[in-house]
Symmetry: D3
Subunit: 149 residues, 6 copies
């Protein structure tokens, strides 16, 4: 018995879920002088930190299950986002409290890569294909990462 | 006389139009027990139904006409969306009142595929290339379908 | 010891928190014929139901506490919204599954009043002044209720 | 010669302008133990700080000038917001770098009051009536202050 | 037979509906020199015109009808907005094609007053109380008018 | 010394920045009669012009710099958008005041192509790869251009 008339092979769907987190950060390169940091990073070089309401968008891909119509259970995906990303980053100072940004600068670009690295193993273990991670730093700026080619 | 300085071959543009509809649905697999349905679908298995303000985003592709600058007449595209999708789905219960979801589960994934199937023939008849259908179920969740490869 | 330089009497603040829920509903007056219902309510009279992503905005008022700077603990307020409104209405059919709308029509106006009646006793018990309830049915339509004068 | 047909006395208009700033903060009461701070403020008590994209909405009121149709010159109002609020708060850590929050907790409520106190003298000097300040901490939470009664 | 449990006198609700229109305008005072116009109005004094996607928000107030639960029929209100405002202003140049702005400057403030004057008679004729008109010129700027006191 | 743990070759990121401008335009083909223009372009053929708040989204691609974590300096990118696009188009009438649309119709499609042509040389000169330009005419309509293949 086939419940879905929709999936007869090759019916690839991308499914995206958003989550938000609030974090502090600053931009600073240890090997540079204060003057160099200020010149390149401007206001972002303020080492007291400032912060953002970040939005994380995670896109997975697959064929919908012929019975459930699910590419992935969105409740499970929400839990993965919370356990892998939000618990580590929400209400945190990215430079001071995360391994990834102990040395690397927490730019939107690098945050997108780091989110991918946090999520991809958990999704792969469940045989879910991660397709894209998008991070919005403000409503005017976002970065996207699709993994290594 | 050439009006557009822009189109000299290979100038592919993607043009997207949004429309919204409000519908009820529930998730339920007939072959399963109530307990199975509840376990997999959670709150969505409530057979009284719940609902959403869905947003449909349709993307077509082509070269802008050298005279009008149109890939497609957006007024015509709006009419197609209304006649093919909104008349069937807006202010409807998807499980109880649509052919597609009489047996298949109306997940966001399946709704995206079904919208494609409703729109593609009308666009193909007008020689308009459908590129992508995106369905937002909430501002946090959307599915995209690009047709069979 | 005074921590807040801000509150020296009469410093009234309004604090608003949003929450969302997805529900089905229809508009129907039992005493009317189908024809009357269709004429007045149009598509909304479809008794299979349709649905919306509703947004609830709750506004409370008070002076910020001189130590904490809180009018109210927003974590507590979130719990109140969830326990009093979302547990009853989220992923529900308003006409079929709620006491308020067993007989009354679940218009946006009436939903705003019903949300007030659900929230006000819990807030009053905690000595928090409810000032306003706003319900968005779609991004184009909302109703506000401020209680009996 | 009368240019405006609109203003013949008593034509009160409220005019609102938005501006955004990104800042870090934490919630902490010095007189409390760490345990008390954690219990009341939860994740917000993390003294490394976290942050937000705040949105400031400033509402002024008056009769439109019969010649210009302006309640206030919005370019000037933008400059006031930038000079009085954004220069002090944007890309700053509110607890560590602002006078207002050296001791007071930078809750949304207190930030609204502090923004009013920064803006009101500049507007009053220009005979512009400040009516309301709204601060959004996230898209789900905002506080409003209308001054002392 | 009482259908609504909600309305037992004094249950005032405010109901708001949005509509959008796209129009061109410029700011110019005939009695002034070009230099004066440029100094006061800046870029807006460009007499070729520029334009906006305006959003009109209309708020009416009343007690919900005890049978229908309506303060007003929102389909009827939509028609009023279209006939009274959008037909006159949508896809128009406000300075060149509307009576109101033949001489008065089409600032957001004046547009709010003019929208009120267009809508109020139609609503009053239907015994609907107009409470507020809000005009958004951009997502950063809006004006509100509540009628003469 | 390696600051970024993230970039070890092939780590392609897409970075997007938004900017807004307000412009007037109309749709008109000189070689056509008024009747033809009205039939094809409808309200948009009104030669007094109407207008929009356009949003420009520019996407660049590259590997984050191993030291700064930047694909591109977003402050510099903002300046490029302002100098190349906003100075020419913001608060302008596209048909009457821009070279591109002196003869070509300023459809959303053509505006996307024209924005690409304005931006691409400045980005190429800085060895920044332009990947995509998106133009929103309204919140319901947008066009994307990715350059000649």
């Amino acid at each position: 018995m086939i419940y879905s008339i929709f999936t007869s092979g090759g019916t690839m769907i991308e499914l995206t879920r958003r989550a938000s987190f609030s974090a502090a950060h600053y931009y600073w390169v240890e090997a540079w002088t204060e003057e160099q940091n200020r010149r390149v990073f401007g206001q972002c070089a303020n080492r007291n930190g400032h912060g953002h309401n970040y939005t994380l968008e995670v896109t997975v891909a697959g064929e919908p299950d012929p019975v459930t119509g699910f590419v992935v259970d969105l409740k499970w995906l929400k839990t993965v986002l919370e356990e892998r990303v939000l618990e580590a980053w929400d209400h945190r100072h990215l430079n001071l409290e995360t391994e990834e940004f102990a040395r690397a600068v927490p730019t939107t670009e690098n945050i997108a890569i780091a989110a991918w690295r946090r999520l991809e193993p958990a999704l792969a273990a469940a045989k879910v294909a991660l397709r894209k991670v998008r991070i919005w730093e403000t409503p005017e700026i976002f970065a996207e990462y699709r993994g290594q080619p």
